[in-house]
């Protein structure tokens, strides 16, 4: 927990205590409770006092946390708490939105993501992203997987073939689709499509895998497969997963960050968050009293 002190001096167990009046969650105070697991390899992405506004509406307040290398971090919280916004800030997906303004720092490997002259495209190539709904392109399965390579101008057949097989094996899809790589990806089932999107995200061998509720559009069996896959990929990639499913967060993640109304309330070891949360709001949320 050595990072705790460097990140925020405000860590304290008592913050927010006594504000849980009558089951209604209290307004967040702006202080975060930190007790997360650190990785021997250190952190990959550090977020420091990050604020974000959509026009004049503030969506994120003073978020400070560090994503640990090789670990799975789950972002949980009720709808509209800013989990997805935070996730999309990491690979600057929010750039597509007009009237967006930010304050604070996000660094990846020590480089400022929002610094002047940052190559957004190069940045996105370091992070794969999987979305809420499967979004395969209207191309063949093969072309979908190698799309990130094609984007880089790689056209060497051998490299593409190898990457395709590696990525599909990585997403546990190879055996199901190896005989129909040239068929349209749109003919696959929803679960397969989502695993294809994961294959596409890992095809260019990114450092970080961002997942925005990857299972919300899937049935339980497909969800189980994705979770299995996340488990298999653990250690290879740093994964950040936004989820509404508490059990899922508990099953797959090492660290969990609980967000509420645009603030980071508690960021700690997953086990602790779900068994002995340090902040009453977290306890109320994970036990199902609100959210």
């Amino acid at each position: 927990m050595s990072d705790t002190a460097t990140l925020s001096p405000t860590s304290g167990i008592g913050s927010g205590k006594g504000q849980a009046n009558g089951g209604r969650p209290a307004l967040p105070t702006g202080e975060t409770n930190y007790h997360f697991v650190t990785s021997p390899e250190g952190s990959v992405i550090d977020v420091d006092k990050f604020n974000l506004w959509y026009g004049s509406a503030q969506a994120l307040y003073d978020i400070s946390l560090s994503f640990q290398k090789g670990l799975v971090t789950a972002l949980i919280g009720p709808s509209g708490c800013g989990k997805s916004t935070l996730l999309r800030s990491l690979n600057r997906m929010n750039d597509l939105i007009d009237n967006l303004s930010i304050d604070g720092n996000v660094t990846i490997g020590g480089h400022d993501i929002y610094g002047p002259g940052v190559d957004v495209i190069a940045l996105r190539k370091r992070m794969g992203m999987v979305f809420q709904k499967p979004n395969p392109f209207a191309m063949s399965i093969y072309d979908n997987v190698v799309y990130p390579l094609r984007v880089d101008g790689i056209s060497d057949r051998r490299v593409l073939d190898e990457t395709c097989e590696r990525a599909l094996r990585g997403s546990a899809l190879w055996d199901e689709v190896k005989d129909r790589l040239k068929e349209s990806a749109l003919g696959m089932s929803g679960g397969q499509q989502q695993r294809l999107c994961i294959a596409r995200a890992i095809a260019s061998d990114p450092e970080v895998l961002l997942m925005d509720e990857p299972c919300s559009a899937l049935d339980p069996i497909a969800t189980a497969k994705i979770e299995e896959l996340i488990d298999e990929l653990r250690g290879h990639y740093t994964m950040i997963i936004v989820t509404h499913n508490m059990q899922q967060a508990g099953r797959v993640s090492d660290n969990t960050a609980f967000m509420y109304l645009g603030r980071l309330i508690e960021y700690g070891k997953t086990e602790t968050i779900f068994t002995a949360p340090q902040v009453p709001q977290t306890r109320d949320y994970v036990t199902g009293r609100f959210g």
């Binding site: 495209i121 996105r124 499967p134 799309y147 984007v151 880089d152 749109l186 995200a201």
Partner: protein, 578 residues
């Protein structure tokens, strides 16, 4: 009944609070709106179907051979012709005074109306009219004699009458001696001679003329470049003169060949006789088609019908466009429309891409968008004026001055032509394509763009590989609309390149094969020309319907092929979850 009313009153007095009604008010139900909507749709369909039925009926029946009626009228003369149409009219007092009492009584009984029939009598060169009204009271006898023929001639239009005699190279024969199949064979042979002459004059002599003209232009170019006194000019002049002398010899040989055939042809003649006995002698080769109108079996009628359709779609027009075919117009329409689509597609799509994907969505873009939409409301003739002024005179004039100085003062690009027409129509239809493309672009799911961007694709790569393919069906819809509008547009074309009769097609065998500067014929203008500008509007009317039918058919054909392509594109995205 009264009891219940009283009971109700009592109850309502007992319970003053309002009771909820469980039956729906008519205004709350959807049905009246449904009837209105259905009625509007039905009205629209009736209008369209009625319009199409009118065109189809008239278009398809025009070429069917009609019988020839020989009518004897009260003054003893006879009228022979195809009954064209009938109507009721109210004769004036000067006509009524010349009638017998019985006839007058009959007219009064019909409330002053009299029926009359318009006959297509033909024989314009003999009688000076080719249509004639005959009132019912004038008719004393109607007959359908089998020896009356309907002749379609190369010149002077139709001839209705009998065959008096046939002169085959000095051998005088009657029809009975030659027999009908014999005459048909003679006519076919004569038409072959006619076609041969036509081919020599148009193609062979045309080639020679083309080369002579090219040589002349070469010389003129050399004069402009090097000056008339220069050695290059002198050299070229000498070689050209030698070549031109050769070509002149070729020309004379060809002309002699044509003259010989013509002379031979002139020996095969036929004398026709009108119903009133006037005779007219013409060369057999002048007869395009003839048939004994009252002596045809059903299959012979079908044969005439199909042969007329064949001529219509594959031949050049004759008799001021009222007869013959409309191949140049079909060709011109198709080439011009294709050219327009080739121009408007990239232009519209690129504009829409910039407006939707790159431009900052602010006031300026809004103004541009409104202006684009308003462009669609500008009268099309204004586009024609703009086309003449900007494209033909300014652009074309500059092109002529730069690249074709040797042809001046006769313009090459500096006048109306198929390229300028296509550009003008592209300008006219570009708002449709822009609007449709913008709609299609904005309908591309965000998740697709995000998926591509998250893979590290640049904005342009995302547009090229993800957004545009996805928007393609919508773009095709815009192009289909533009094509339908463009193919049917006539007004601007009248200013910028369409002509009544184009001597040459825009694509032919002479280098550079595609001649974008040439004026062309267009089905839409053909309809206007035949229907309203020809000598006899009655003669043009059937052609108007047939041409309209063909134009509609052509647009349907082009649109359905575009729709086929669009549906194939759409199929690609059919399995998508969004």
């Amino acid at each position: 009944m009264t009891a219940t009313v009283e009971k109700d009153t009592i109850r309502s007095e007992a319970k003053p609070r309002s009771v909820r009604k469980y039956s729906a008010d008519i205004s709350a139900m959807g049905e009246p709106f449904l009837w209105g909507l259905g009625g509007a749709l039905a009205f629209g369909i009736i209008l369209i179907v009625g319009f199409l039925a009118l065109i189809f009926w008239n278009g398809f029946t025009t070429f069917w051979p009609k019988p020839i009626e020989v009518v004897t009228i009260t003054d003893g003369t006879r009228v022979a012709g195809e009954p064209f149409r009938s109507e009721q009219y109210r004769p004036g007092p000067e006509i009524l005074s010349g009638l017998t009492d019985d006839q007058r009584a009959e007219i009064v009984a019909d409330e002053g109306f009299v029926g009359r029939t318009l006959y297509r009598t033909g024989n314009y060169d003999v009688t000076g009219e080719d249509f004639r009204w005959v009132s019912n009271f004038q008719v004393t006898d109607r007959a359908y004699p089998k020896d009356f023929f309907f002749f379609e001639r190369q010149e002077w239009g139709a001839f209705v009458g009998t065959i008096a005699s046939i002169d085959l190279n000095g051998r005088k024969l009657s029809l009975e001696e030659l027999t009908l199949p014999g005459l048909e064979a003679e006519q076919e042979a004569a038409r072959d001679r006619f076609d041969e002459v036509h081919h020599i004059e148009r193609t062979d002599i045309g080639n020679v003329n083309h080369e002579i003209n090219e040589l002349r232009l070469d010389l003129r170019r050399a004069a402009l470049r090097h000056g008339e006194g220069s050695p290059e000019y002198q050299e070229l002049q000498q070689s050209n003169e030698a070549r031109i002398a050769e070509l002149q010899k070729d020309y004379l040989a060809l002309a002699n060949q044509a003259r010989a055939i013509k002379e031979e042809d002139r020996k095969y003649r036929i004398t026709l006789q009108t119903v009133n006995g006037e005779e007219k002698e013409i060369a057999i080769s002048q007869i395009v088609r003839f048939y004994a109108a009252n002596d045809l079996s059903f299959f012979e009628k079908v044969g005439v019908y199909l042969s007329r359709w064949g001529e219509f779609v594959s031949e050049e027009p004759r008799e001021a466009n009222t007869e013959g075919g409309i191949l140049p117009a079909i060709f011109g329409t198709v080439v011009m429309t294709m050219l327009m689509v080739i121009i408007v597609a990239p232009f519209g799509v690129i504009t829409a891409l910039y407006l939707r994907e790159y431009a900052k969505q602010g006031r300026l873009v809004t103004i541009v968008r409104i202006s684009v939409n308003n462009l669609a409301g500008v009268p099309s003739i204004v586009y024609g004026v703009f086309g003449v002024g900007f494209f033909a005179y300014m652009l074309g004039g500059s092109i002529d001055a730069l690249f074709y100085p040797e042809r001046l003062p006769s313009p090459t690009f500096g006048t109306g032509g198929i390229l300028w027409s296509a550009l003008t129509l592209a300008l006219l239809t570009v708002p449709v394509v822009i609007v449709a493309t913008e709609e299609a672009l904005s309908a591309v799911p965000r998740s697709m763009r995000e998926g591509s961007l998250a893979c590290g694709a640049s904005k342009w790569q995302t547009i090229k590989w993800i957004v545009l393919p996805r928007a393609m069906p919508g773009v095709m819809t815009g192009l289909i609309l533009a094509m339908a509008r463009g193919a049917g547009e006539v007004a601007p074309l009248m200013l910028i390149g369409v002509v009544k009769l184009a001597p040459e097609l825009p694509i032919d065998g002479f280098f550079p094969y595609v001649h974008l500067e040439r004026s062309f014929m267009h089905l839409g203008f053909h309809i206007f020309d035949v229907g309203f500008q020809s000598r006899n509007s009655e003669a043009g009317k059937p052609m108007v319907f047939v041409t309209t039918l063909l134009l509609i058919g052509l647009i349907v054909l082009m649109n359905s092929s575009a729709i086929y392509v669009r549906n194939r594109l759409k199929k690609k995205f059919a399995g998508s979850q969004f």
